[in-house]
């Protein structure tokens, strides 16, 4: 008759149902203006993402990972950060950069294969795209340690997927965050797939959220297509982090509507019906229905928002495509702070 000693509970948070109605959880307090601004950013993110796919098909961008379906998870969380906070995206986070006001033309420039697109503007604490899955997690933990050491009122958010949760980096980072009670929010976008590997072959745990039990801090599951739920969960977790309450793991349950990247063909491994089912849960639609109910949305407003987004993306594309080609010497300039003797010899080739 063994004795029971630990009984952790994992919860799921939702604010809106699929029809945009408020559920039992009260919506976060946001003014009408704020709600509209956020919705417009969602529209911008989708517009940007669709344009990137088009440009890739036209051979004007390299491989690109679409965020279709994940806009609420990305913008809902990033918009809950404050100036001074630090964000650590993976590679599928156009929505995070857009939420922060990252120059759109630089995003396009980066995906066209030009490092200069990731020269993050001064004062914007977001890291460049991180490709090796999960490796950004300990970086965020280190930044949180630094913030704590400096006694800055700042927290870090780190983005990763269901696949990323399988990497040792996730474990080691989460564990350190628990031990040092660090101001960091672990934001997992569980979009059900890691390329062709479905969520249930990635881990046998019922949720990703419950993995926080292993580290002695709170894990919570959130409807990741519910912008307001993601916003609320992240805002609360960030506030807690800054009050010294330690880390939180947030699992956003969402769905990758597109292929993994433009180099992938999801029809090889993914049942079409599954994707169809998720269409009804579109995060933009849900937010729109909510705004409509609040009297903030009209057809005209939608057209305006779309037109504005298109204009911004047009402008970004124009700027990105008119940038001069990079100087081959840059390869040398940015490897170390200064040239090595060998590089000084090699650079003469240019």
């Amino acid at each position: 008759m063994p004795e029971q000693i630990v009984e952790p509970l994992i919860k799921r948070l939702a604010v809106l149902d699929e029809k945009g109605n408020e559920t039992v959880t009260p919506a976060p307090s946001l003014t009408d203006e704020e709600l509209k601004r956020m919705y417009e950013l969602l529209v911008l993110a989708r517009t940007f993402d669709q344009r990137a796919l088009t440009l890739q098909r036209e051979g004007r961008l390299g491989t690109y990972p679409s965020i279709l379906g994940q806009e609420a998870s990305q913008l809902g969380s990033a918009l809950a950060s404050e100036k001074g906070d630090w964000l650590f995206p993976s590679y599928r986070e156009s929505g995070v950069y857009i939420a922060l006001g990252f120059p759109l033309h630089m995003l396009l420039q980066y995906w066209a294969g030009d490092e200069r697109g990731m020269r993050v503007p001064e004062g914007m604490n977001v890291l460049p795209v991180c490709i090796p899955v999960g490796t950004q997690i300990p970086h965020a933990v280190g930044a949180a340690m630094a913030a704590k050491y400096r006694k800055d009122r700042a927290a870090a958010i780190v983005y990763f997927g269901d696949g990323g949760s399988s990497r040792g980096d996730f474990h080691e980072g989460m564990n350190m965050a628990g031990v040092f009670k660090l101001p960091v929010v672990f934001l997992c976008q569980n979009n059900q797939w890691a390329i062709s590997v479905p969520r249930d072959r990635q881990t046998a745990s019922k949720t990703i959220a419950q993995k926080a039990v292993a580290y002695g801090f709170e894990g919570i599951q959130v409807d990741g297509n519910d912008f307001l739920a993601v916003y609320k969960a992240t805002r609360d977790a960030m506030a807690k982090a800054k009050e010294g309450g330690g880390p939180t793991l947030i699992e956003c349950v969402t769905y990758r509507m597109s292929d993994h990247t433009t180099a992938d063909d999801a029809s090889r491994y993914r049942p079409k019906e599954e994707t169809e089912k998720w269409k009804a849960r579109d995060p933009l639609l849900r937010m729109r229905l909510y705004l409509e109910k609040k009297g903030l949305w009209t057809e005209a407003y939608q057209k305006d928002a779309e037109a504005h987004a298109t204009a911004m993306v047009d402008e970004a594309q124009k700027n990105a495509e008119s940038v001069a080609a990079p100087d081959p010497k840059d390869m040398f300039t940015y490897t170390y702070a200064g040239l090595t003797q060998r590089q000084a010899r090699e650079i003469k080739d240019f």
């Binding site: 390299g62 491989t63 590679y91 980066y110 066209a112 294969g113 030009d114 490092e115 795209v129 490709i131 090796p132 899955v133 999960g134 696949g163 990323g164 399988s166 990497r167 040792g168 890691a194 390329i195 062709s196 590997v197 072959r201 990635q202 881990t203 180099a263 992938d264 090889r268 491994y269 080609a325 990079p326 081959p328 840059d330 390869m331 040398f332 940015y334 490897t335 090595t340 060998r342 590089q343 090699e346 080739d349 240019f350």
Partner: protein, 320 residues
């Protein structure tokens, strides 16, 4: 005999060997239904089932670690590392365990396994998708490193690698996956590990290359009386073939895709400078990528050794 590209040749090697030897299993990310991101394992999942073609959680350390455990048990795992840029998480298991278990257990346990991975730049890929880090693995005694340069060598070397009693890192030049087609026999033939091949005979210069750079080297030597050695196995090195050629020609150009500093070109040069010095007529030249962080696609073409640079190096040594 069918004409096929390297992807097809590798796929053929895998399916033939799995048919022959039930101990051979394939594991990695997206190797199952998806058939691998480059389709090298295409069809294997349907043919051999999920028990032998295993889609693993996204965890390179654990994948290679688990493969080592399988090898201890007696299976012959063939791991697909999705890109060489992601192998770094598995370095500890390869160096500290795969390479050392034979020594540690005085032969009682071994790690007969293969880690296959696409490597090399020139396909306009994302960051970390273009590594050419072969030299790192050549420095670790206990590991073997093999690089085919064509469909024919790809199949024959992969079969040898799977049957080899030691752990083998098997590098597949991404750029060549679909570039060349060749007649590849659908029979059981092998290309032996540890043996370089002379792809072109010549008397004035010895050019040494492998994998991704071989095609470029072959174009560069046109019009010169240059002997070209395709290493095929990078570690252990076929020193005899290299030294014999150098003793004949007296001039050496080494071409590789990795940066020069501590690349495999350095080892070849040092080998020659120790054992064939008195036959040399000219400095030993290396034509490599620059000693910088691998650039993204916009600068990639400037980074890699060009045919022109290789030709210039040949011309330079010929001046002596």
């Amino acid at each position: 005999m069918a004409t096929m590209n390297a992807v097809q040749a590798l796929n053929l090697a895998l399916s033939e060997e799995m048919e022959r030897d039930k101990d051979v299993v394939v594991l990695g990310e997206d190797v199952g239904k998806n058939g691998g991101v480059f389709r090298v394992t295409e069809g294997l999942y349907d043919r051999f089932g999920p028990e032998r073609v295993m889609d693993m959680p996204l965890a390179e350390t654990g994948i290679v670690g688990a493969a080592i455990g399988m090898a201890f048990y007696g299976l012959k795992p063939v791991v697909e590392m999705q890109f060489m840029g992601f192998i770094y998480a598995a370095v500890e298991h390869l160096f500290s365990h795969a390479a050392r278990i034979r020594t540690r257990s005085r032969g009682r346990f071994t790690a007969s396994l293969v880690v296959r991975t696409p490597y090399g730049a020139g396909v306009k890929a994302l960051e970390h998708h273009s590594e050419s880090a072969e030299a790192l693995f050549c420095h670790m005694p206990g590991l073997k490193v093999v690089v085919p340069s064509s469909p024919l060598t790809a199949k024959g070397l992969l079969l040898s690698a799977i049957r080899d009693p030691d752990p083998v890192l098997f590098l597949e030049p991404t750029r060549l996956y679909r570039m060349l087609k060749e007649e590849v026999p659908e029979i059981d033939y092998t290309v032996p590990l540890g043996k370089a091949r002379i792809v072109r005979e010549g008397t004035d210069v010895t050019l040494i290359a492998w994998g991704s750079m071989l095609q470029r080297a072959m174009k560069a030597v046109e019009g010169f009386n240059t002997e070209v050695i395709d290493l095929l196995t990078l570690s252990p090195l076929d020193e005899e073939t290299v030294l014999q050629s150098v003793k004949k020609t007296g001039r050496v150009v080494i071409v590789h895709e990795a940066p020069s500093m501590c690349g495999l070109g350095a080892e070849l040069s040092a080998l020659i400078a120790e054992f064939a010095m008195l036959h040399l007529k000219a400095p030993i030249l290396r034509v490599t990528s620059y000693d910088v962080v691998l650039p993204l696609p916009k600068l990639e073409a400037y980074y890699l050794p060009s045919i022109e640079k290789i030709r210039k190096a040949i011309e330079t040594v010929l001046q002596y």
